[in-house]
Symmetry: C3
Subunit: 375 residues, 3 copies
């Protein structure tokens, strides 16, 4: 592929038509389920302030502003079953947002049936609270999210959550096989003892054909390079004595179980509304990284580790491995290496190159989607 | 009264003509007197920055910016009697704002008599510093503030002060008998053992006829209610075994001593420039809550407890009662229950109702006043 | 000179044509040299974000934003000699800003030679990092800065650095003999035991004729004054028993060694791009106070103490004197007296007077320069 020098305008995302506050008409994870207990709780999602409350396993989400006088519902209480009452005068709303009582006006008040607050479809699944953001009727949760999350018969998940001080588009850029991996993560615990993954690859975009995602295929590449007059990258490699494993493994994807049995088209898949799915060839483990826009300047990252259910002992081993190694080695250290850098990115003029082929493909993919009906 | 569903515009206060930075041409309390000592002190009042300084019991207030080069006078010192000198070059101003010396130019300077800084009428009374904000000649302090404060022969006061992170209009709304009381304060120490005060009352506005205030009369109402399919409010009442007392007492106001002897027209009175006076039928105690706008987003609340002088022993008892109970039970705990909620209010579209009759009356009252000459 | 009452417009600096972000086309000190080590470091200069890095004694300054995808170069590392590599994908730039490698694209990438980041002339001298801000070719450092800094054969320097929360123009105003000295610093350790310097002087501006600076001559004046009906300044003077020394000394400047041998035209000299040089008559010591605009609201003050080299023992004595007395007595206490006041200045309408003759001259001088070619 030829070199792709190009100068985009001041805001490269706007030029592609990517909405600053995220894509609407999707289900999003918003909070770990254990953080919503008996008291209501506020969350910010795509720039909107919501109040969450629960009745047992049922979860409800409303606009966090009482239509009466503007107090914050999340300061109120769940006084009656499956309702939330405003802290100011006790206007009480059910999960649909309908007012069912205006306590200070007594049972004969005519406010119930008239007052209403905006409601959001919400549910609890996989240890997370999910909310649908959009104006249309929400699709079934299982039809909208990846099978890895929806199919609880075959997969179980463990999720780590971190808030990033950057726009969601900067974070999603980071997932397009744009070659930061071998550089930023070269010394991460996961890759420390094996060769750095190949860089200088030929990249091509593979559209998944389902209107929801795409992947970036890399071929060729090299594990180290000598730069004349400068030096070698990576510089010190005596400790890289292990063979590639985990993330480092490469091979013919079309011969893997992930592809043949589970239909995963690419090792990493960038998907709407803003996530990446990283697959293992064995299809025994997948990592979903999901960017939930809090507002224009903050993003909540959900690292959803998806393990295939392979019996009680294997599940026990997977959980132990996550607790003892993967939890800190990847979801903390590996991801935080990205965090420092993406939080420093100042969007502006860019000098994109042949290693940014996937990134350009992703931005175009999102831009196309943002301007059309969801499929 | 019929239901009053109404949708005001985005800023409900602007729709009524209430000024964001407060009403001008009034005396306001601004600071506890003990916090102004030998050093000048800055205060923000109605969005303006003032410097206060004193000469014994005389108090002065000037614009806190030297007209020479713009340094803050409040960083200066009271170098000569009843004056303040700028910290930068010693331009010295008396309490009228007239420059009386430009120290660095020597005694022969012609700056005195030419330079001037804006001054504000100011005085110390009832342990507070008061400032008049306006462009016209200030009325006598005693003619402008409630008798409870002005008449020191009959009343003594104890004041508690708290800064609120909200506009003054949101705080003043809270004082219009709009039925938050039985809900927000149901479990406050003051009301814990007695029935919650009645809600679902019929409300009507009583104009005091003096161009300064109004009250809201409530009749009927109920102390608890059963909401079909939901439950009861208040929920747990076994501990409410006492008869109503203090705030909870109700009766025929026109037969009270407060009305007959002191001419107090309503149990609670909302008055300009933004205060409420809560009366006891016995007229032995009154509470003034006075909102002083600091700026558009902050308000200083003065809880001025006014006790009728009834002899030395009774005064001793009143002070002890305030120190041991009322000070924390009302001015801290009771008021802080309001503070949390009013600070959460986001002004915007409202769905007002029949319990907001007093609130609407108050906003109209202020709006009328803001557009006319003061009476 | 007559009284100069004048009312300038709201922003007095704009009225004179003084640029808010400082004068361009000059060398500026930006950082103590010891704070730049092996890791790159960000500095803000005249509102721009630069990354500094070094190769031994050579220092480089680039725009702190990678042209590739906008990451902050100062988070990167100096991976190869005399270069800096972006933390994201390893795009590597030399001191001229030319890309010399795009590590993740391998040695055959065609990005080197195409990508470029803006560079700034930079060097290390007198224990400081210096950067040239401008669009034209940088003049030789020695030709642009005072001889006191450039001529290291005859002078050595010790520098103290403090950041001020004010615009650079407010700080530079403070250096124009506008008579704050005898007032603000009357009780500083340096002046405590001697009479306060004279105030109420006749001032006249002396243009240095080199297009770079001017001074303000003061004649006459008085050391104390009695203000009728107010009192005396300074008030308590029993402790001022010493004769004037140090800063306090006055005399015929044209007979001093500083003038005759070193050509210093005025005891204090305000010079472009924003500094004051305070001279001793003996020419054995000079103080440069240099204002480096960080951004519109912050300024870094470099107090560069310049000592004439007069043999090893004298140098030892000078360093000891600085460490034991002058370092804290002037560069901390004396300067901090100014800091508190200039940070409080709110630019706006001014009432300038005859003691502001030098200040007006300085503002005009800068305004003239800002609109013309540098000489």
């Amino acid at each position: 592929m030829n070199d792709m020098v190009q100068a985009t305008r001041a805001d490269p995302f706007a030029a592609f038509g990517m909405p600053e506050l995220g894509l609407r008409e999707f289900w999003y994870p918003v909070l770990p389920a254990w953080r919503l207990r008996r008291r209501p709780r506020q969350v910010r999602v795509l720039g909107e302030e919501l109040v969450l409350f629960r009745d047992g396993a049922r979860v409800f989400a409303l606009d966090d502003r009482c239509p009466h006088r503007g107090a914050r519902l999340s300061l109120g209480a769940c006084r009656f079953k499956a309702t939330i009452s405003c802290p100011y005068h006790g206007w009480t709303f059910d999960g649909t947002g309908a007012c069912v009582a205006a306590i200070m006006e007594g049972p004969d008040s005519n406010i119930p049936g008239r007052a209403k607050v905006k409601s959001y479809p919400a549910l609890q699944r996989n240890g997370l609270i999910w909310v649908y953001i959009g104006e249309r009727a929400a699709p079934a949760f299982e039809d909208d999210v990846p099978d890895l999350v929806a199919d609880r018969q075959r997969f179980f998940t463990i999720t780590a959550i971190t808030d990033y001080a950057c726009n969601w588009r900067v974070l999603a850029d980071n997932w397009t096989n744009e070659h930061h991996g071998p550089y930023v993560h070269a010394n991460s615990p996961e890759l420390l003892l094996q060769p750095v993954p190949p860089f200088n690859m030929e990249l091509s975009v593979i559209d998944h054909g389902d209107g929801r995602g795409m992947g970036v295929r890399g071929t060729g590449g090299q594990n180290y390079a000598e730069f004349p007059g400068l030096g070698r990258f990576p510089s010190h490699s005596w400790h890289r004595f292990l063979k590639p494993h985990g993330r480092g493994v490469r091979g013919r994807w079309h011969e893997t179980r992930a592809f043949k049995e589970f239909g995963v088209q690419t090792p990493t898949s960038s998907r709407l509304p803003g996530m990446v799915i990283v697959a293992r060839p064995s299809a025994e483990y997948f990592l979903i990284q999901w960017a939930m826009p809090i507002d224009a300047h903050n993003t909540r990252l959900f690292n959803i580790n998806c393990f295939r259910r392979m019996g009680r002992w294997r599940e026990w081993r997977d959980r132990a491995h996550y607790a003892l190694f993967r939890g800190w080695a990847h979801d903390r250290i590996f991801s935080d290496q990205d965090k420092i850098i993406v939080e420093s990115v100042t969007p502006g003029p860019e000098h994109l190159s042949r290693t940014d082929v996937g990134l350009i493909g992703w931005r175009r993919f999102v831009g196309r989607h943002a301007g059309m009906e969801k499929q």
